[in-house]
């Protein structure tokens, strides 16, 4: 394990970004989101980002291809540039888990080559949590916030950032920057263990730490789907997309065309199941009421996805939707309301 003083982190970021793109939490106009590191950027590793880390692999808008027209002639142009390797720094355990959930969507046949290219080139440096928020409930999904995986795992404790490479990619990155680090000793490891212990204690006491998901099993699909509670749960929903756009696991997108000056650019952009035109087809919409749309989101995360993916829920308990819903309705409340009596 290596260590670096926190006040030297900018040197580390400068070094990494000198050879490759570095994506990390940056504060712009008061809000912290993952963004490319640039000289003078206000890096903030102490708060949860507004948007999740998924943008790096699955950006909100992404060009797919281009049709160039000239008179009556149409050329199809591949707009994919060779993806260069990049470093994604400061990913929390919940967001890291979300990549695994996205992989199960994008990397199974048919493989999403746009996603795959980025996923392969991304070096993920995770950061262990030490100060969870009241909205956090990752532990409900079996995630250990204090010990994230990734190519490199880092911990912040006692004025130092500790660095531990886990994979070949991680080792390669470590080699490139190790000059800046000192070797950590057993004393340091003890400090980290102490911090982990403290954090785990806080985590176990969080309000949503013990939401019970056991009621969400594939065999209860019909029962859950027909639950009368959906109506009151969805009543106040505005049908905006805040929850889906801050969510690390939402993976739905829409494909659209943009008419440029010399043709058409085909791109995809995040879609939200909360929107009235989500999965609109020639015959119209499959879900006409907000109740149906609302139910879809949670049924997908808690029932449909797990039944196709060995019981893995498509929620990581990051709590972003808990924080950002304009009317304070969220997945935790849904789980508590229809997830069976253990939640009472």
């Amino acid at each position: 394990m290596l260590k670096i003083e926190l006040n030297k982190l900018n040197d580390l970021f400068a070094k990494i970004s000198s050879s490759t793109d570095l994506i990390l939490p940056v504060t712009v106009a008061g809000e912290t989101n993952f963004a490319k590191y640039e000289d003078g950027a206000e890096v903030n590793l102490s708060v949860q980002t507004v948007k999740s880390a998924k943008d790096s692999f699955f950006p909100q808008a992404e060009d797919l291809m281009k049709f160039k027209t000239e008179g009556k002639k149409i050329d199809i142009i591949d707009v994919r540039e060779k993806v260069e390797s990049f470093v994604l720094f400061g990913v929390r355990a919940c967001d890291y888990r979300s990549f695994e959930i996205l992989d199960r969507v994008f990397l199974v046949d048919p493989i999403d080559t746009y996603y795959k290219a980025k996923r392969e080139k991304g070096v993920i440096v995770t950061l262990a949590c030490s100060r969870p928020e009241e909205s956090c409930f990752c532990s409900a999904f079996g995630i250990d916030a204090t010990n994230p995986l990734g190519d490199v795992t880092t911990y912040i404790a006692d004025g130092f950032l500790y660095w531990n490479a886990n994979t070949d990619k991680g080792n390669a990155l470590t080699d490139a920057v190790k000059d800046l680090f000192a070797q950590a000793d057993s004393n340091d490891e003890a400090k980290i263990d102490e911090q982990k212990k403290n954090t785990k204690e806080i985590l176990s006491k969080l309000p949503y730490a013990n939401v019970d998901l056991s009621g969400f099993t594939p065999d209860k699909l019909n029962e859950l789907f027909n639950d009368a509670k959906w109506e009151e749960l969805s009543e106040a929903c505005l049908g905006c997309g805040s929850c889906t756009f801050v969510c690390p696991t939402c993976q739905c997108y829409d494909i659209k065309d943009f008419k440029t000056n010399d043709g058409v650019k085909r791109f995809r952009c995040w879609d939200s199941c909360m929107y009235a035109d989500f999965t609109k087809m020639a015959h119209g919409n499959s879900r006409n009421f907000q109740l149906q749309r609302f139910r879809q989101r949670f049924m997908h995360k808690l029932v449909y996805y797990p039944s196709n993916n060995e019981g893995i829920y498509s929620c990581v308990g990051c709590g972003r939707c808990v924080k950002k819903c304009p009317i304070s309705m969220n997945i935790a409340k849904v789980i508590k309301t229809i997830g069976g009596k253990n939640n009472d």
Binding site: F258, T260, N261, D262, K265
Partner: protein, 146 residues
């Protein structure tokens, strides 16, 4: 004719109402009063048909300046159209300015069917002003400039 810098040719979209300003442009034409070729006129029935979205669309598409011309207030073919247009544009232009977009990029002129000279002068002046400002960078859509 206005001397235009050959390197930089600004693109100007002019929305002209059918009854006065488009006729004014016709008069400028039949009086052989020239204005830069980069002024492109779009005919609308009345200035009140000009949706702020059209103006933003023009900027998105790469226009460097957008001008709306209508009948003089009080002379609208539809009686009141340009009065509504005037309020809309006043507020829209103010908003663009508020967002930091150069105020000179947008303009409203009232040009009657009899004012061919004015039409040509206005277009020459406006084109010169836009030349001075240079390319529209603050309200551009890079996808349209590839």
């Amino acid at each position: 004719m206005q001397e235009i810098n050959k390197e930089y040719q600004p693109l100007i979209v002019a929305f002209c109402c059918n009854w006065c300003s488009y006729a004014g442009a016709d008069l400028a034409g039949s009086s052989r009063l020239s204005y830069p070729a980069n002024v492109k006129i779009i005919r609308v029935p009345c200035s009140c048909r000009v949706n702020p979205m059209f103006i933003l669309k023009a900027f998105q598409r790469g226009a460097d300046g957008v001008i709306m011309c209508g009948c003089h207030p009080g002379d609208c073919h539809y009686t009141t159209g340009n009065y509504y247009a005037r309020r809309r544009m006043t507020l829209l232009f103010d908003m663009l300015d508020y967002l930091g977009i150069e105020k000179e990029r947008t303009r409203v002129e009232w040009v009657s069917a009899a004012e061919g000279v004015k039409f040509s002068n206005v277009m020459n002046e406006f084109a010169a002003k836009i030349c001075e400002l240079g390319e529209n960078k603050r309200l551009e859509d890079l996808r349209c400039k590839e």
